[in-house]
């Protein structure tokens, strides 16, 4: 078993760094397989938690297929949330999308899929940059409790949780507290 980061505040480690790495590799394979290659595929990590994962997936894809170079970028959705004015929002860094989205297959990447509202905001945000041919969704953890009809295409791990728990995902592991 790989090294587990120390939990704080009664946090329970459910995945270690090795588990995360293996999940990334598997998802990378699935992305290539589902899209029958990487033509027109781009990865967009949602600020903030999805950005490192998008970069990691792009690197992993590059390891599998030496010829492939999958572009990746980051997307800030704070101006598209449906709970604006209801709770504090601090936007992350400005969106960086150094490629054209028109006609592309955009894989939205985020660390945790929960109610689905962040992903809905991402749909709207992406729509303001261009018109992709297709959108897919890759998440490290699906913790359930969906409030919108959204489902992921690529999942690292399904983790049932209760609504008063907090899920934290990093390269070194996944913890629930």
């Amino acid at each position: 078993m790989s090294e587990v980061p120390a939990g704080t505040n009664g946090a329970k480690q459910v995945l270690g760094a090795d588990d995360v790495r293996r999940a990334i590799t598997r998802m990378a394979h699935e992305i290539i397989e589902r899209n029958r290659g990487l033509d027109g595929v781009v990865l967009l990590g949602v600020q903030r938690g999805g950005v490192w994962l998008a970069e990691a997936l792009a690197a992993s894809i590059g390891d599998i297929d030496r010829e492939a170079h999958v572009p990746w970028g980051s997307l800030d959705v704070s101006l598209y949330r449906d709970d604006i004015g209801l709770r504090p929002v601090s936007p992350g860094a400005v969106s960086e999308i150094p490629f054209d989205l028109g006609g592309a297959t955009v894989v939205i990447v985020d660390d945790v899929l929960y109610t689905g509202r962040t992903v809905r905001a991402a749909f709207d945000a992406i729509g303001d940059y261009g018109r992709p041919e297709m959108m897919q969704l890759a998440v490290m953890v699906d913790r359930g409790h969906r409030q919108l009809p959204i489902r992921p295409d690529f999942v690292g791990r399904n983790l049932p949780t209760s609504t008063d728990e907090v899920v934290v995902v990093t390269e070194t592991g996944v913890a629930i507290s």
Binding site: S78, L79, Y80, V89, S90, P91, V94, D124
Partner: protein, 305 residues
């Protein structure tokens, strides 16, 4: 933050937050469709008791780009004289349901008074000689971007030249640059300086022009001549105008700024287009983004009272 009334009511963290938010808005404005749904369903009322097409349009554009609805009242002198007071106007409009007021008034303090008569957010778009915080923010943002100074303005030397005494822009710009760590000097004859100045002062532009990083020119109004504040405008230009000769003595990389509109031939006699350090065009362009950031911070970011 419930209102934006004056720079000296913000702390440094607020200032940085608004400048960082502006980066997002600049990015939005660069898109082919510069619009986000952030303030959908929110109404912003522009209450302009003083004529100002540029600032009003800037706020209207900012609101629309955030998908908010705009109501504009340009209150002429006559309707105020008919007995409709500031309080009446604010309460009537507030009753129609607005989320924010953007107020410009010739009397210092009017936006503070308005806060007593509405629960909506209030943004000061310029009150008397007193404050113009969104102008100061867009000026600070311009310098931050042009000089790459995202961490603050420590050691930066700013000179504000002109009729400081009657300038709300000078007061707010001086405050924001000082808050961010800059050294500020006010350059004007004593008749055009406040009786007690918040910053260092000088009445000799020639002594300092080679040492500044940012030269900020204020509009010199022709009316000031009749109030015995300066003998004539020619003498003002001789002593304090940005002439070609003075422009040549600016150090490399020094920025030249002006809040507009310019009185060409008075405070500036060179064509700004020929000044390598002029960022006057950027100031205007940044105005919309800054105002979007302010509106989003007050109405959209969830930091409500």
């Amino acid at each position: 933050m419930k209102h934006l009334l004056a720079i000296d009511e913000l702390d440094v963290a607020d200032i940085h937050r608004l400048l960082e938010l502006t980066d997002h808005m600049v990015e939005v404005n660069q898109r082919p469709n510069p619009k986000v749904p952030a303030l959908r369903g929110r109404t912003v009322c522009n209450l302009f008791f003083e004529v100002s097409t540029r600032t009003r349009l800037s706020f209207e554009t900012a609101t629309r780009r955030l998908s908010g609805d705009v109501m504009t009242f340009t209150v002429s002198e006559s309707s105020v004289n008919k007995g409709e007071s500031l309080r009446d106007t604010v309460e009537t409009v507030a009753a129609m349901g607005v989320d924010a007021f953007v107020i410009r008034h010739r009397s210092s303090g009017a936006p503070w008074q308005a806060c007593r008569w509405t629960t909506a957010a209030v943004i000061n778009a310029g009150d008397g000689w007193h404050a113009h915080p969104t102008q100061a923010l867009l000026d600070a943002y311009t310098v931050r971007t042009e000089l790459g100074r995202t961490g603050g303005f420590d050691g930066l030397r700013l000179a504000i030249v002109g009729d400081v005494k009657h300038s709300r822009v000078a007061r707010s710009v001086g405050q924001i640059f000082a808050a961010l760590g800059a050294d500020v000097v006010l350059v004007a004859p004593a008749t055009l300086l406040p009786v007690v100045a918040e910053h260092a002062t000088s009445d000799r532009l020639d002594d300092i022009i080679g040492d500044v990083d940012v030269l900020y020119l204020l509009r010199m109004q022709r009316e000031r001549m009749s109030e015995a504040l300066v003998p004539n405008l020619h003498e003002y230009t001789e002593r304090f105008g940005l002439t070609a000769e003075r422009a040549a003595r600016l150090s490399d990389g020094a920025l030249v700024m002006h809040p507009g509109p310019m009185n060409r031939g008075v405070e500036i006699t060179v064509d700004p287009a020929e000044l390598p350090g002029s960022v006057i065009g950027h100031q205007v362009a940044n105005g919309v983004a800054v105002r979007m950031a302010v509106l989003f911070d007050l109405l959209g970011s969830g930091s409500v009272a």
